[in-house]
């Protein structure tokens, strides 16, 4: 079974040379730590920066340079700043190659819910609805089950949707799955996790085709 960093490490393998990547808040943010050094990737943050670098050294933080999580960041050579409309032109205009975001629920049709729990949590969708409405390549990073142990991979989402039929791949602490017209196709198991354990933790239709390899981290 993977921890959050393990999930990020596995997703980092999906990042390819020349990609512009948008990372959501939470586990997706950690992906930047594991991207190979020998490829060129630029991270976009929806609040208006392309070419995000690591956190600043102590004493060098700047209130005018933050990421979408409102954390202080730095920029790398070649970086640019822009306004919010331009930022979402990059996103809706499909100029960003890969979007990685967290979710509360994903359905076997690729629907995603991650912005609201009616009566409990209403923080808002931020840029998530724009991202999932347009991105060609959306990977969800999340735990396979919620804190109560219930599956987050469902037949139908129970929470208000963020987007419809948009998620392409899901990477959890247990498995890597492709969203197909017939359901979640199991691609890889996390180290030490059996197919049966994944099946038991998945409420939506899980397609198990042949031997399922363990993730190569």
């Amino acid at each position: 079974m993977l921890d959050k960093n393990g999930i990020a490490k596995r997703i980092a393998k999906e990042v390819q040379d020349g990609y512009y990547v948008n990372l959501g808040i939470g586990i997706p943010t950690l992906v930047a730590n594991y991207v190979r050094d020998d490829i060129e990737v630029e991270f976009q943050s929806e609040n208006g920066v392309l070419g995000m670098g690591p956190f600043p050294f102590e004493g060098e933080e700047d209130a005018d340079i933050i990421n979408a999580g409102k954390q202080t960041i730095t920029t790398l050579p070649g970086a640019s700043f822009f306004d919010s409309a331009t930022s979402f032109s990059m996103i809706r205009g499909q100029h960003v190659d890969l979007t990685i975001l967290g979710a509360m629920e994903v359905s076997e049709d690729g629907d995603i819910a991650n912005w609201k729990i009616p009566g409990k949590m209403v923080k808002g969708m931020g840029g998530a609805m724009d991202l999932v409405a347009s991105a060609e390549n959306i990977i969800v990073a999340m735990m396979h089950t919620n804190r109560a142990g219930a599956s987050k991979l469902l037949k139908h989402c129970s929470l208000p949707l963020t987007g419809v039929a948009c998620v392409k791949k899901v990477v959890t602490n247990l498995a890597v799955m492709q969203v197909t017209p017939n359901g979640f196709k199991l691609l890889e198991r996390a180290p030490g996790v059996s197919v049966e354990e994944i099946q038991n933790a998945t409420e939506g239709h899980l397609i198990i085709d042949g031997d399922i390899p363990e993730m190569d981290l």
Partner: protein, 234 residues
């Protein structure tokens, strides 16, 4: 040169009154019009309808207007980080319209650019699109979203001149340029008001035509919401 410079924040906010609709630039606490917000607190203007990506934190940014119960309605994309906001929203004191962040930006830009509405794919198939006109283009569904109508836009830039030209810094730019000229009156506050002619015309982010009034803010706290740092390697 057409002069947009006003003496101070009091003059800049002349004409604001109860029940108006205001736009506020900023993302989180970055790039917010601190001086204009402080003056609105002092004026005690009530019944406000505010368009802003976020709602500040409890004791800073738009949180200050929430504390004084000056806001009736917020249109935002993300409103975490604010307990008083949540309390007022759940108790029904505050009306909240949550919309996708790109839609918020584009509804500002549409108002600025003279478009009555735009079609966006964001939110299609979700509760955000409920009751809204939708249309198919090339096999994909889009939602019709209207340009905002606002009385004042309060924006903050790094540098500006008396002609109203603005230059922003870093990610403090965010929604500020999109809100310039998107309301009846755009009030720009800047950290530094420089003499006309010293800003390079090639480097101006927002031309002065979009700005009605400009002033240099007295002070800027520029509070950091999430201070994240890394250790220096030896």
């Amino acid at each position: 040169m057409i002069n947009k410079k006003v003496a101070n924040v009091q003059e800049a906010l002349e004409g604001v009154s109860d029940n108006m609709t205001f736009m506020f630039g900023g993302f989180g606490l970055s790039g917010i019009p601190e001086n204009s917000i402080a003056e609105l607190v002092r004026l005690g203007t009530k019944g406000l309808k505010c368009i802003s990506n976020n709602a500040g934190v409890d004791d800073f940014g738009l949180g200050l207007l929430l504390q004084g119960k000056q806001i009736d309605k917020m249109t935002s994309s993300y409103v975490g980080e604010n307990d008083e906001f949540e309390r007022q929203m759940l108790s029904g004191e505050l009306e909240v319209e949550l919309i996708p962040q790109g839609t918020l930006a584009e509804r500002c830009r549409a108002a600025q650019a003279g478009f009555p509405a735009i079609y966006t794919p964001a939110g299609y198939g979700t509760e955000v699109a409920e009751g809204k006109e939708t249309r198919e283009f090339d096999g994909k569904m889009y939602v019709l979203e209207y340009a905002f109508k606002a009385d004042f836009a309060f924006v903050k830039a790094w540098k500006g001149d008396a002609a109203g030209n603005l230059v922003f810094k870093g990610t403090a730019r965010n929604f500020n340029p999109n809100m310039c000229g998107a309301a009846k009156i755009t009030v720009a506050e800047v950290e530094e008001l420089v003499p006309v002619g010293t800003l390079d015309p090639n480097q101006i982010h927002i031309p002065g035509i979009f700005v009605k009034r400009i002033f240099q803010g007295e002070t800027y706290e520029k509070r950091i919401e999430q201070r994240t740092v890394r250790a220096k390697a030896n």
